[in-house]
């Protein structure tokens, strides 16, 4: 539990984000955002409440909402498309999440831990979901056709007439050069720093992986020069 000064600091971080004034104009307290919010139907979460807490600068309740509630948002931005005051509750949640991560809140670590496997895949390969991750039992919403992926994946993927998609452990083939560019983006935009804050072990694994790939790339460049 943070003390008041810390909670005020957290709010100041949120408020000083360059997007803040653009996402929050005030609030008519009408509830259109909550009424159209898919997450509000399933969780104890109301975008109007988030907006009201920020607008009235209720730093204690803002801190409280950052423990769990803000992670219920699906970032679909329906609220932003509907708000009669042209606020973006979802955009505000994005800022709050970034602050929660930058400040290393324990609650953020707890919430994000289950996503470690996806994160590893995403950062190392640039793909979120790969064919070999799909297990029919986990995707009932795909209907009976899901059974088709139970065959020999390698053969099935070979049938796709696009060479870069004939892969199994990534959704498509990413060239070494593209990968290295992607790592540079992760680094420069602070994604890796956020990751280090949230999960040091995962960060170490990913960092090693990236270093290795970068070396491969350097070697490849040298080879090209020699030719």
């Amino acid at each position: 539990m943070a003390n008041y000064a810390e909670m005020q600091q957290i709010f100041d971080d949120i408020r000083s984000d360059f997007r803040y004034d653009h996402e929050l104009n005030g609030c008519l307290n009408c509830g259109v955002c909550t009424a159209t919010c898919p997450s509000a139907h399933f969780y104890d979460y109301s975008p109007r409440e988030i907006v009201q807490l920020l607008w009235t600068e209720n730093v204690e309740q803002i801190y409280d909402a950052m423990q769990e509630k803000i992670w219920a948002c699906a970032q679909c931005m329906t609220c932003a498309a509907r708000c009669p005051f042209k606020n973006s509750p979802g955009g505000l949640v994005a800022i709050m999440r970034e602050v929660a991560i930058a400040r290393g809140l324990q609650s953020a670590k707890d919430v994000l831990r289950p996503f470690g496997r996806v994160m590893l895949k995403l950062i190392t390969t640039g793909n979120q979901l790969s064919p070999d991750m799909i297990q029919p039992d986990h995707f009932p919403d795909w209907g009976p056709n899901i059974q088709k992926v139970e065959g020999d994946l390698k053969v099935l993927r070979k049938a796709i007439p696009v060479k870069t998609l004939q892969t199994v452990d990534t959704a498509w083939e990413v060239s070494l050069k593209t990968s290295v560019e992607m790592y540079t983006i992760w680094e420069m935009t602070g994604v890796l720093k956020s990751l280090e804050m949230m999960d040091e072990n995962l960060f170490d694994v990913i960092e090693d992986f990236i270093d290795e790939k970068k070396e491969d790339y350097e070697d490849w460049l040298e080879e090209q020069d020699e030719d």
Binding site: A35, A40, S46
Partner: protein, 354 residues
């Protein structure tokens, strides 16, 4: 050629504001020439068939009807119906207007009383107007009340539950309407009482962000509708209107007390539609050379010493062409504009005299 610039005032629009302006001009011994684009006089309350008016409780056709008769029966007043002004030249004290029927009118001053346009609910499709038969506007509901029977248009059944949604076409940046229409809160509380009076088994719910029953309308309408007519007020703006399998309407909103989304069944949903700038305003602005303010209403001159002025000298305005306005205030403004126009009749003579 009609009129004489030294004693004639052109009045454009014959709603409450224009009718009161014309009556004042005639009463002071001058000649109003009234140009109304519709074939009947009376403005929105007559054209849209309003029921009992706020706050008098009188039927619109009686109250506004008296105003129409007073103007139509006056010998010094000329009325052109189904007519518009297409040209307007000259200077204060000596204007010449060209009408769509080819006539010319000389006038020393002009008063714009061209009113507003009802918000078209089609522009807010998620609230079901035009999709479901039992979604109505306040003007349609007023007509139903004036007809004396409350029923669902889809199948004629008596509604158990009616929802009135406030601020439809007002206070909404998504559709570029950043104003409050001023009268719809009070009109809706009045309508709720009228519905209950005609159909005692019907319960009426009003969905609101704020209740703006200003001044003396607080107890006469907001409180009375609760105390005597059991109208329920729910603080929420509705997000969507859909329908359930059995044909009833489903209203989706947030219950802002418990912060949860809610879906509630209703038999009739009424849009409390707002007041848009008159859709003719771009044309009026061009013909009369007057400016429009940022929402599209007629721009006011400096108010404190140039009441009822526009950005063009000698051209005055009154009523809901300036901003959403009530009938009573539109009438008062009509009289005020008449006083200013009369003072302007001698402008040219004064100028010549030096």
């Amino acid at each position: 050629m009609q009129g004489d610039a030294s004693d004639t005032v052109l009045v454009v629009g014959a709603g409450p504001a224009g009718l009161s302006a014309a009556a004042s001009i005639a009463a002071a011994g001058f000649r109003p020439v009234v140009v109304e684009k519709e074939d009947v006089l009376g403005g929105a309350p007559i054209l849209s068939g309003y029921a009992k008016l706020v706050p008098s409780g009188e039927w619109a056709k009686d109250a506004i009807g008296r105003m129409v008769a007073r103007v139509e029966q006056d010998a010094s007043t000329t009325v052109f119906k189904g007519t518009k002004v297409t040209g307007f030249e000259g200077e204060p004290g000596d204007f010449t207007a060209t009408l769509s029927n080819g006539e010319h009118v000389k006038a020393g001053a002009a008063i714009l009383a061209t009113g507003f346009t009802h918000f078209d609910s089609i522009n807010k499709p998620e609230w079901g107007f035009g999709t479901y038969e039992d979604v109505l506007t306040t003007t349609q509901m007023e007509q139903m009340v004036a007809g004396g029977k409350i029923f669902c248009p889809s199948d004629g059944r008596v509604p158990e539950r009616v929802a009135i949604l406030l601020c439809v076409g007002s206070r909404d940046r998504q559709i570029g309407r950043e104003w409050c229409s001023k009268i719809c809160c009070t009109v809706s509380t009045n309508l709720a009482m009228e519905i209950k009076e005609l159909s005692p088994t019907t319960d009426v719910f009003i969905y609101y962000m704020d209740i703006r029953t200003f001044g003396l309308y607080e107890d006469k309408f907001y409180w009375k509708s609760q105390e005597e007519f059991k109208t329920k007020f729910v603080k929420a703006r509705i997000a969507e209107v859909t329908t359930s399998g059995d044909g009833r309407l489903l209203v989706k909103g947030e219950d802002t007390l418990v912060k949860r989304p809610i879906v509630i069944p209703f038999d009739i949903v009424v849009h409390a539609i707002g007041m848009d700038p008159n859709e003719d305003n771009p044309e009026i602005s061009k013909v009369f050379g007057v400016g429009l303010e940022k929402h599209g209403f007629i721009d006011r001159a400096e108010f404190y010493t140039s009441t009822c002025g526009t950005t063009r000298r000698g051209v005055f305005a009154a009523g809901s062409c300036y901003a959403p306005e009530t009938i009573d205030d539109s009438i008062s403004q009509g009289h005020a504009a008449a006083a200013r126009a009369i003072a302007e009749l001698h402008a040219l003579a004064r100028k010549k005299a030096g």
